[in-house]
Amino acid sequence: MKVLAGLVAGLLFGLGLAVGGMTDPQRVLGFLDVAGAWDPTLIGVMGGAVVTSFIGYRLVWRMGAPRLEPHFFIPTRQDLDARLLGGAALFGIGWGLSGYCPGPAVASISGLTGPLAAFVAAMAAGWWMARRLSNRQG
């Protein structure tokens, strides 16, 4: 059941990215290019997703526990630290250079091209490096 739930969630997410135009880096870079021919599409995607999740999360949390797990796994940290903000800054630079964040990059794999393959391989290497760094400090 967990496998089926994961598959359905992934399908919905991938469809949403493609219907929303987020599997097109031109749309993403067009949104980030505030001084150029600005493309508002990403605001629509983020707005639709945040509002839907905001309402849906609150309905789901009323159940007390998820269907397939004993409790919800929700981050509790509130503090801001250098790793969070520095990580977000590095991510933003990479996002602006390519027009890809992790979801769209993975979701675009069926249309694989050389540059996308290079990006996904480098991203996987970056995650590995981040885990090494985190383990050393933690």
Binding site: G16, V34, G48, S98, V106, A122, M129
Partner: protein
Amino acid sequence: MDTASLLNGVAGGVLIGASAVFLMGMMGRIAGISGIVSGMLYEPVNSERIWKGAFVLGLVLGPFMLTQLAPQWGNVAGVAEGAIGAPMASVPVMVVAGLLVGLGTGLGAGCTSGHGVCGMARLSTRSIMATLVFLACGMATVFVVRHLLGGGA
């Protein structure tokens, strides 16, 4: 302003939100792509890793099915029928960008989905701040590349 694209964006966003709500209702988890994909790659083999693998399979199949069955529902800029757009940057730039995205989302514990959608929906201070930082850095990077250097993607 491209209203049709914006409406497509809202529809896609609602689907992404539905995915996040479904995952929370079934598994109690945040739908953060960087965490799910890197977990699938690097966590020890356990039941966690299996549902994460199924999620990634669905994530790849969604746009593939749209391309095959209903490409007119896609939203690639300047293309009437297409669900997956072409990369705009060269291989060397994509390697640097991929490393930064992997390292950054790994250290910052989240990306556009985990912080930008799920974290914002939870009204998490950390996620809201991370989202503001990566949006600002993304915009600054595009400004430098396109308008100061006059090139790039």
